[in-house]
């Protein structure tokens, strides 16, 4: 496989999914979920360098994809109707709606870009002439929230930098990570936020292995992952 695309070149998991749908020329209303999920994981593994902050977002989607795939393979038993006993919906429905909505705003974004560039009819306001600007020296204004935002921006950047790694073969294995996760979850009886599980991961590879370990624990029913709202935080908890 030759995926020479950087994960960073996608705006996020939805952008990557749209790319895959387009590349495979499949119907967005009838996504072959197994194929797309596989390719999605291929992208994650092929990415050479990735910002860990972003990786969490990609992994949340990976979890969603796997859950959809599972639901398509094993429809829920009729005995346990999910909410209210309606007929089982297409498990892909919600994802499709999200993709459609995101695609709409992506289109608006490129429309805005062409307006900015003057490729579409548009009005122009006066250009501030530089002459007016530097005549008044001292008066400046600023606000405390602005200062704090600047502070956060700087530190976020600083944190982001060392979090970016070129993948080296580290000796992390799934079994090790499963033990690790169980240990950490025991420290948090009320559960942990999915993203927070990854803050200790030193590399993309380690994060991936951690993710696989989590999936295995979910499969073995040692751990439960819940999400209240679509795209809300995923909470991970020990099952006793």
């Amino acid at each position: 496989m030759d995926y020479r695309v950087r994960l960073d070149s996608f705006e996020g998991p939805l952008d990557l999914l749209l790319h895959l749908i387009e590349k495979n020329e499949v119907d967005i209303y009838d996504i072959p979920i197994a194929v797309i999920t596989e390719q999605y994981f291929d992208y994650l593994s092929a990415a050479e360098e990735v910002n860990l902050d972003n990786l969490a977002e990609f992994l949340v989607m990976a979890a969603t994809l796997i859950s959809i795939k599972t639901r398509m393979l094993f429809p829920r038993p009729d005995a346990v109707p999910p909410d209210g006993g309606e007929e089982e919906d297409d498990p892909r429905e919600e994802l499709v709606q999200r993709l459609l909505l995101y695609r709409k705003f992506k289109e608006v974004a490129s429309y805005l870009a062409s307006r900015q560039e003057g490729e579409e009819p548009r009005v122009y306001y006066r250009e501030d002439d530089g002459r007016q600007e530097d005549t008044s020296p001292a008066e400046v204004r600023a606000s405390l929230p602005e200062l704090f935002r600047a502070f956060q921006a700087i530190w976020a950047e600083k944190r982001a930098k060392p979090a970016s790694y070129v993948v080296t073969q580290a000796d992390v294995d799934v079994g090790e990570k499963m033990k690790d996760l169980l240990y950490r979850l025991r420290q948090h009886p009320r559960g942990m936020v999915f993203q927070d599980l990854f803050t200790t991961a030193g590399s993309r590879r380690e994060a991936l292995v951690l993710f696989l370990a989590l999936l295995e624990l979910v499969r073995q029913r040692q751990v439960r992952a819940t999400q209240d709202t679509s795209f809300g935080r995923i909470r991970v908890q020990l099952l006793d």
Binding site: E11, F105, K106, G118, Y125, R126, E127, Q152, A153
Partner: protein, 171 residues
């Protein structure tokens, strides 16, 4: 007291010189005549500039009145603009697109649509003056609501949010 003709000229000068849209009330206060009379003069100005033969127009948006070019002549104007605004990143454009259509909108709502965290992007758009905070949503956590600013309209050459394409027109 100025003659009516001169008040009109003064208003034209004010619209030209102000870097931001001017609210009707402020114009009335500065020229020192009642708001209704000011409104009448502004309507005259709007009509006069709407005539062909003029390449500029007086437009009214939520924030007030301003002068801008007519969109018909965009290619000529583009050719003489000296300081093209810096291109925005795809992430910035997508975030702005969502805010423009869904405003007022919370950070969580933006994140739900884009699927990625929005905090840093919102800070940077706030710093550029393209969006502003507009109170809080009355739901648990009282999250901040974001709206676009007149600066946003200016950057994308719109006279109002109605210039945004609508679903039915597009697609």
């Amino acid at each position: 007291m100025l003659a009516r003709d001169e008040i009109k000229a003064a208003i034209e000068a004010m619209l030209f010189a102000s870097g931001e849209p001017l609210p009707l009330e402020e114009i009335a206060r500065v020229v020192g005549i009642p708001v209704e009379d000011t409104n009448g003069i502004l309507n005259e100005l709007v009509l006069e500039y709407n005539k062909s033969g003029h390449g500029i127009q007086v437009v009214e948006a939520a924030a007030g009145y301003s002068l801008c070019t007519k969109d018909t002549y965009y290619q000529f104007v583009k050719a003489v603009r000296r300081r093209p605004a810096k291109k925005l990143s795809q992430a910035a454009l997508e975030t702005l697109a969502i805010i423009a259509y869904q405003q007022p909108v919370t950070r969580a709502e933006i994140e739900a649509i884009r699927g990625v965290r929005a905090e840093r992007m919102l800070n940077s758009l706030l710093a550029r003056g393209l969006i502003a905070e507009a109170g809080r949503k009355e739901v648990p956590g009282r999250p901040v609501l974001y709206v676009t600013t007149p600066e946003f309209l200016k950057l994308f050459g719109m006279t109002g949010l109605t210039d945004l394409p609508r679903e039915d027109k597009e697609a």
